[in-house]
Symmetry: C2
Subunit: 358 residues, 2 copies
């Protein structure tokens, strides 16, 4: 009922300011501010009275007015690097949803910017920090040696990695243990009787690509399988180069009976290469991949893959970064998640192998 202006004219709804609230209560704005921010020198009685009045009048502080004194704008920064063929693009919406939801829960917001090169990314980070558009940053797609980390570390700006890095001193991070999933995939295939298991790695430079390669090797070791370098194809991220990588494996003199891909995008190409050679996926050739892109269920047969809950990852990252901005030590802000195996139709017993022991 408060501002339902009786005048049919253009009524500027007139924000409720701190002083208005204070006047209404017969207090000074300093007192009201401290009451709302839970300072210990305010009596419980007054605190409660202030809270109720603030609620009733619908008082909401202007975040940039607070920022001028506190130095914190309550905003998470995200600089996305957009590539032509970006395997992670389908997950963008989910990722944003996770970030935004967790940020909103703490009354923070999300400031996003996009860049098309490493240099532009650093430029944006610079601009956003110096103009204080964000209190900290989420760094997706971490590289082993990441210029963004050096940059922010030097300026003492909080950040959280999505992924790990070589030198994690002072870094908070969240990551999915994709190396464990790849290792599990290889182990599973070995149990199914596969003796020659190929691998299509992800793009070099990114930490996750290295880790998944390690996972492949670990899986071979656990399955007591020899490591044949020929079974590691050139890196592939999307359908077209995935087909090329698969071709190099399938055209080997002694081709693999199973292929593990570091990313689903490449697996799409494996299907193409297999079809072209008359190989039936799931029987002639087993494929297990990683990511959980939506198209995976539409393939024939549906692709067995490890699905990442990208929305949940975003939520965790936002939470970690907010805590980091509030002063928590980076060493206490490190988490690992796991991808969930979606057993579908693209993997099976090795051709000519006996039923596996459970």
């Amino acid at each position: 009922m408060q501002f339902c202006g009786d005048t049919p004219r253009s009524e500027p709804p007139k924000r409720v300011r701190l002083v208005d609230l204070a006047a209404q209560l017969g207090l000074t704005k300093g007192t009201v501010s401290r009451a709302l921010n839970d300072h210990p020198d305010i009596s419980d009685q007054t605190r409660l009275r202030v809270r109720k009045a603030a609620e009733k009048l619908g008082y909401r502080p202007l975040s940039h007015a607070q920022a001028i004194r506190t130095g914190r704008v309550q905003s998470l920064g995200l600089v996305l690097q957009i590539y032509e063929h970006d395997a992670h693009r389908p997950f963008m919406a989910e990722f944003l949803a996770g970030l935004s939801q967790a940020a909103s829960a703490e009354d923070w917001t999300l400031t996003v910017a996009t860049a098309s090169s490493d240099a532009q990314t650093l430029d944006l980070l610079d601009r956003l920090t110096v103009e204080k558009k964000a209190d900290g940053f989420i760094l997706p797609r971490t590289k082993l040696d990441d210029a963004r980390i050096e940059f922010l570390r030097a300026r003492n700006v909080p950040f959280v990695l999505y992924g790990r890095t070589r030198e994690s001193r002072g870094c908070a991070w969240f990551d999915i243990e994709s190396e464990r999933s790849i290792e599990d995939a290889v182990t599973l295939l070995a149990r199914l009787g596969h003796r020659r298991i190929g691998f299509v790695p992800g793009a070099q430079g990114y930490t996750y690509a290295e880790l998944r390669r390690d996972g492949y090797l670990a899986g071979l070791a656990r399955g007591a399988l020899a490591h044949d370098r020929q079974l590691v194809a050139p890196p592939a991220m999307a359908r077209d180069d995935g087909a090329i990588s698969a071709a190099t494996l399938l055209d080997l003199a002694d081709p693999p009976s199973a292929i593990v891909c570091a990313v689903d995008g490449a697996a799409l190409g494996v299907y193409d290469a297999a079809r072209q050679r008359g190989l039936k996926i799931g029987t002639d050739l087993s494929v297990i991949s990683y990511d959980g892109i939506p198209e995976a269920t539409l393939l024939d047969p549906p692709l067995s893959t490890y699905r990442v809950d990208t929305r949940a990852a975003g939520a965790r990252l936002a939470d970690l970064l907010i805590r980091r901005c509030r002063g928590a030590a980076p060493e206490d802000l490190r988490e690992l998640g796991r991808a969930a195996f979606q057993a579908r139709g693209s993997h099976g017993v090795a051709p000519g192998a006996a039923q596996p022991a459970t």
Copy 2:
């Protein structure tokens, strides 16, 4: 050389403030502020001197400090509604890139939030406006009757629609004339000899869906074809429901020889339904669609579709909104774009028809 501290300790790089700049110049901060903001009461000589010093010292105003007086935070708001099956999701990254790029060019930033329902969207708009996290909003996926428009209009908050709406009084907007593309598609098919052309519309409620339906009808009229209600399938947005819609058309007693889809997602399902019935796309059944999703090129045969330059659309929207926030009249901020036809393999001469007249 300025702040390369000789001390190897943790050097807080100490921002350059307006007063610092003023002291350096022997001026007051008020004068410097006016010089940088091009006030007329500053001599050209002083203005130039200030600009150079600002450049040299690397002075960058704190945007939230400016905001407290000006009321403008230089940020565009974007509230995305995330659906389970969202046909527009693949374009998210491109859209953000366009917005971000155009915003950055004017030194604005982008604040994004996500919602999962209409009510939550309004909540977020409310929070972002009252806390002044954004100066205005971009409203994607406009509906014929859109609650967001009413909401923002009542509060006198600037906004720009991506799409049109029923009552566009006071609305700035950018839109692609998709109805023209659909009309062109139908016309093209008619010229190719198709007499029965089916249509798979988009989800009801959205303006674009209605417009594309109009475009279908207009195309029929231009091709002097009768409108058979049976040729309009149930709405579909994604592959699965697209297949169902296509089935209703293909199982007709007198099925169409061509199908136009309002969105590419549905066209994917049309391929499925056609394959299931042994129809060869491009010869037995022509398909033309709209959107330009990347998968379209990977289909067999590649899908003929009208491609929207989503990045460019984002850039235009950001530009319009910034101008709107700076006071331009909404009536002067309305633009239309066009999608580009990508003639690929999914459409051809009608079965049993003579070569068409040019």
